[in-house]
């Protein structure tokens, strides 16, 4: 799908009305204007081009939030990004299409710690790709299980993977990685981001609240989803491991060790909101703006600012996904209940 450029002046102007949009950290009662796959400034259109919208769409009072960005997702729907196959691309494409219903418009396929041969086979097959009706955009891959310490931050590390999980607990004389949240050793102008899996299982609500209150602007909601996401109960493969799914929980087969989450992104957002009591705006930013900032893409992704890519999600007041748009085009829609 083409975006931007001088040719968009002739593209149709879409006006989404009767909605609240997330802009500047606040939910505003404003219309959202889109042209050529980007968010448009309607005031400029009015005074400089003297034009009105070509099409209007009534959003029924819903919330319009920037499309969610999942920077840590290991697979889903039976696809395992860490599996060295000949056709990684199809797997990525399948997940890309299925996560649209969770409101995710961009993601980073994640590989878990694997032998080097796996990286060499898989990584070249994962290419950056724009989103569209075929699926969410691929922003590049990420690698999990980074060991991060203050020296690592100094050397450029910016993201703590799933805070609290798979790391030593906070101790008041040795805060460890958790202490980075309020570290005074972070170079000025840098922000430490940290992923949190808010699926209701991986992190206790109190721990979610402590992290959120200590450093709200760095919180990035991630799914850390495993291939079992979207599949039913039973046994499935993840990298070099076998996992057992039971309801909303996935264990390393034969143990009680958690093995990744299977909660979709919108479920994580709702649970995060309920557990921390934070504002709707912050919960939505944790899944859109903050991951975009982490990846240095905030100029085009993660917000509904003028000029940004028109990737957004229509939510009802309980933050359930009603529709997903990429480049201003409807790519997923919930089935309407009733007549």
């Amino acid at each position: 799908m083409m975006r931007g450029g001088q040719c968009t002046a002739w593209a149709p102007v879409l006006q989404f009305t009767n909605c609240r949009i997330l802009r500047g950290g606040v939910l505003l009662r404003e219309d959202l204007w889109v042209r050529g796959g980007r968010i448009l400034d309607p005031e400029k259109l009015f005074f400089e081009e003297r034009r009105v919208a070509d099409k209007q769409r009534d959003c029924g009072g819903c919330i319009l939030a920037p499309g969610f960005i999942d920077v840590q997702i290991n697979g889903g729907f039976g696809v395992d990004f860490s599996k060295a196959t000949e056709d990684v691309g199809s797997g990525v494409a399948l997940v890309a299409r299925r996560i649209l219903s969770h409101g995710v418009t961009s993601f980073c396929p994640t590989l878990i710690t694997s032998p080097p041969e796996v990286y060499h086979k898989v990584l070249p097959q994962i290419s950056v790709k724009s989103g569209g009706p075929h699926g969410a955009g691929v922003l590049g891959h990420s690698v999990a299980d980074l060991k991060v310490a203050e020296e690592a931050v100094q050397s450029g590390a910016t993201f703590i993977t799933h805070l609290f999980n798979a790391m030593l607990p906070f101790h008041h004389r040795d805060p460890g990685i958790v202490g980075l949240l309020t570290s005074d050793q972070v170079p000025p102008g840098r922000c430490i981001f940290y992923g949190m899996i808010a699926d209701g299982i991986h992190t206790n609500p109190a721990a979610l609240r402590i992290a959120h209150r200590a450093h709200p602007q760095g919180l990035v909601l991630v799914t850390d989803a495993v291939p079992a996401l979207g599949l039913g109960n039973g046994r499935h493969t993840l990298g070099q491991q076998e996992v057992e799914v039971d309801g909303l929980t996935a264990y390393v087969a034969g143990t009680k060790t958690l093995s990744g989450s299977i909660a979709p992104m919108d479920v994580c957002i709702r649970h995060f909101l309920q557990a921390t009591g934070c504002s709707v705006e912050l919960a939505l930013e944790a899944a859109s703006l903050h991951p975009a900032q982490l990846l240095g893409l905030e100029k085009t992704k993660g917000s509904l600012d003028f000029g940004s890519d028109a990737d957004f999600v229509v939510l009802d007041d309980t933050l359930h996904v009603q529709a997903t748009y990429i480049s201003g085009e409807l790519v997923w829609q919930a089935e309407k209940a009733g007549p």
Binding site: P42, E43, F47, E48, R51
Partner: protein, 289 residues
Amino acid sequence: MKLIILENYSQASEWAAKYIRNRIIQFNPGPDKYFTLGLPTGSTPLGCYQKLIEYYKNGDLSFKYVKTFNMDEYVGLPQEHPESYHSFMWNNFFKHIDIHPENTHILDGNAADLQAECDAFEEKIQAAGGIELFVGGIGPDGHIAFNEPGSSLVSRTRVKTLAMDTILANARFFDGDLAKVPTMALTVGVGTVMDAREVMILITGAHKAFALYKAIEEGVNHMWTVSAFQQHPRTVFVCDEDATLELKVKTVKYFKGLMLVHNKLVDPLYSIKEKEIQKSQSAKKPYSD
């Protein structure tokens, strides 16, 4: 003149909006006959704009065949600046109603040749058939638009340097920093507004009371340019109680006594919905004398 006195800001705003609504609907505008409206900015007309938006949203009023001409705009302020009058009109009025952008006219304070821009504005007003109703406010120094004290009462659209009173009054929109307030503006002249077929001035608040007194109880004087409208055949001043605080009791009593008559201008309140019903029933209109 008609001096309309309402109890408070909210009622004054509503009266004014009803008046404008009735005037537009009774004019019966169409593709060959636009209703030309002159418009102000500032805090005084906000309540009136909100009511007009409400009438549009309820389907009682349409701006499809209305052409608007704003009174003024700052010089040198980018059009997208939140304090420009373009931004004001977009955020407080245009974006909420069904007016077509080509039917709106606001002076361009960033034009290469400012006086040419002003002359062109006068021509656009002429081309539109003149202004049917010019709505304005009054400054604390009695000015209409940016026609500061000393402005010619027959002036036309031109560049004006702002008086200190005006800069002080506007500082609150620029973080209270006098250095940030523009010092020049393009404005319609007193003569330009006088050419309108009807003029409506909105005046609310005790801080405008002295200006209102000077405008209607003293003589025509270029130091209080709103006083020029004493010589206009059709002027309506809409105010709240606080704005009348400097007037003679006699004046206020006289005009309050006329409210029974003046309220007939807004009651009955017309709606375009009725017009559609009337059109479909016109064949079955019962006999009436």
